[in-house]
Symmetry: C2
Subunit: 401 residues, 2 copies
């Protein structure tokens, strides 16, 4: 992972560096990276589900997005994972109806074990299995905190295979734990390499270099009212990573402190597609965005375009070139144009798209999020505002209105 | 389509109303709604491609997003459409390798006919067919402007089935034209009903009511520096519609005028999922957003949850309820919480999710976009800033750097 920051370097911030170093030692997210034993047990424990042709994954938010990002990068197993995170009834029925339930596993993930969405998904699905007189208990596993929550009680009653969600790690920070492991194990994603990437980042990094982005973000958010952080990924396989980023970033930094409201809206963009849909706005629109390009140095190679024998410049430019050549030219053309027009910009490049580099990238974004929160003096681990909405929803549901 | 606007009504703006009325008469997008003949010819003309098991759709931006939105809503044909809009080499190879090319059609869509991405996709794919000695010319169709562009010359040389892109309608406004028709025809999407929805909106609407959102958006963008427009859709089937919106909105409104920069960043969100990832930011973060809920009154019904026989409140709340009950309760809980917390808000509700209502919605957003641009005194039809990036990209590609 390499950084190209289009701004003058910030001087070391000793307080910030000390704080982050302390987190590397003590914060459960990072401390848990020291020993692979428990997560690799989950990875192995889910292996028997790989004998199903399909596996439904129920969960929402932090119980789903990290796993989706891993699954998008790598799937060499023969098992198809279906992440059902929403409760749209039509989409739910459509999905269930396409599957042969006899050969479909169910995994229900909920940190608290009381979240309405995955419980609804699970209960309706189980009713379908029972309607087809399938012995679903053998095909179903749950992952939740080890306490008397609803999902855990359900698992106990039906003797389901059960995995623990760590008690002290929030949903949006859990991708290196059992939650990532259970998905990785199902799709042969190299989870040990993934964690090694994160571990190496923490152990070897020059903290001041690593925290340049956080220092810059906090600075431009406070001083220049920049209120959007655009992540433009130049890889289809990183789209779900950018969705994961949106939750991590939005939920951690959208906070009030001393009567001020903080939070840069995360905006995900996909290169080269969004050059054709969003670039006009980035170039001519308000200068309210900090744009990060996430790029991959070494792409898979396609064939080269053979001569078309038509006298037109559009063909002559492409002849002899691969799709990767065009992809890189577009990426560089867009970056350099944004730069030439004075946009706030950086490039984070991965040498290759693999488990190790993704582990580095996801750990980096956790660190950057936490460091930015520190500089804004807000708590990156809570989400105090959403409780009201949940209470209202349950009231409306109970009253049938 | 009904509106619930959480702000005091704006008085009629006669100049704006007259301008929009004039567009309904004269602007090619709207004028072309008067007669279905030519688009239904395209709809029928593509029918023979429905005999393929799979069809690859090449195109990017406006040549892809509208079609994707239609396909997401309705597919009753046995043909699978594969929208390949990006030029990620690994994803491209993966896609081509999963298909049986003998039974796979190719449709290449490019308004200008000279766009590098779809030409690269087309040329590399044709090479694959030739490597398998498949007579691809019969399986391939193109849609482009009727002039001497590269794609047209290619189609002429190989005698490909060819459809015309209208000359006077820009890519992001083309969903009601041949571009929408070609996709609709492949997936049995009711294109006549879709256009009827748009036509009825234009003919029957009280313009002042229809333009409330545009007047509000322009007002809060200019006076209160609101710089983000969040579209939160409560339907999985509207996710691709929200992607289409992002292009229409971003590219039309991201403009400079008299030294000022305009453009609210379009932010797409999916309910209920983004309640678990973005709601904290919307509630406690900066008040820089105008949030539109797009909801559906009548959802498909699932079974009700049967008694679980476990003494836990989380189960008792769900028992006897359908997934739709929960979905509606979550939607209302979130809307009311945002409202109670003083967020800028409205709800656009569709009675059902069908072609007619989607036609209304897409036409509405075109009108709202154009009206907002009028009030900001910018041109909603051009995209002057992106040319520089294209030139750079082609230079880098030619130089091989």
């Amino acid at each position: 992972m390499k950084f190209q920051n289009e701004w003058p370097a910030y001087a070391p911030n000793d307080k910030l560096n000390t704080y982050i170093k302390g987190l590397f030692q003590n914060l459960p997210i990072f401390a848990s990276l020291k020993d692979d034993t428990s997560v690799l047990k989950v990875y192995a424990g889910i292996e028997r589900f790989k004998f199903y042709k399909d596996v439904l994954i129920f969960g929402i938010g932090g119980s789903s997005l990290g796993g989706q990002a891993l699954y998008a990068l790598n799937n060499t197993s023969n098992t198809n994972l279906h992440f059902v995170d929403n409760i749209d009834p039509a989409a739910f029925i459509q999905k269930i109806n396409t599957l042969n339930l006899k050969n479909t596993g169910i995994i229900c993930i909920s940190k608290s074990g009381n979240t309405a969405e995955p419980l609804m998904q699970l209960l309706l699905t189980v009713q379908q299995y029972e309607a087809h007189t399938i012995n679903w208990q053998k095909q179903c596993a749950v992952l939740t905190e080890p306490n008397d929550n609803a999902l855990r009680l359900f698992a106990q009653k039906h003797s389901l295979l059960t995995f623990d969600h760590p008690l002290d790690i929030g949903g949006r920070y859990n991708v290196f734990t059992s939650v990532g492991a259970i998905i990785a194990g199902l799709c042969d994603f190299g989870f040990a390499k993934f964690r090694q990437g994160a571990r190496d980042l923490i152990q070897q990094a020059d903290l001041t270099e690593l925290l340049q982005g956080a220092m810059h973000t906090a600075h431009i958010h406070k001083k220049q009212n920049i209120n959007q952080s655009v992540m433009m990924v130049y890889s289809n396989y990183l789209e779900l990573f950018s969705e994961w980023f949106c939750q991590l970033w939005g939920e951690s930094l959208g906070k009030q402190h001393k009567g001020k409201r903080y939070g840069l809206t995360p905006v995900r963009a996909l290169g080269a597609v969004d050059q054709h849909s969003q670039l006009q706005l980035y170039l001519d629109g308000p200068r309210d965005k900090f744009i990060t390009f996430i790029t991959v140095d070494n792409h898979t190679t396609t064939n080269s375009v053979m001569p078309v024998n038509i006298d037109h410049k559009a063909f002559q430019t492409l002849e002899g070139k691969t799709m990767g050549d065009l992809f890189k030219a577009e990426e560089k053309g867009t970056f350099d144009t944004l730069k030439a027009n004075g946009c706030l910009l950086r490039n984070i490049s991965l040498s290759k798209l693999n488990e190790y580099e993704l582990g580095q990238l996801m750990a980096f974004y956790m660190i950057e999020t936490i460091a930015t929160a520190y500089l804004l003096e807000i708590d990156p681990f809570d989400q105090p505002a959403v409780e009201e909405s949940k209470i209202r929803a349950m009231e409306y549901l109970t009253k049938g209105k």
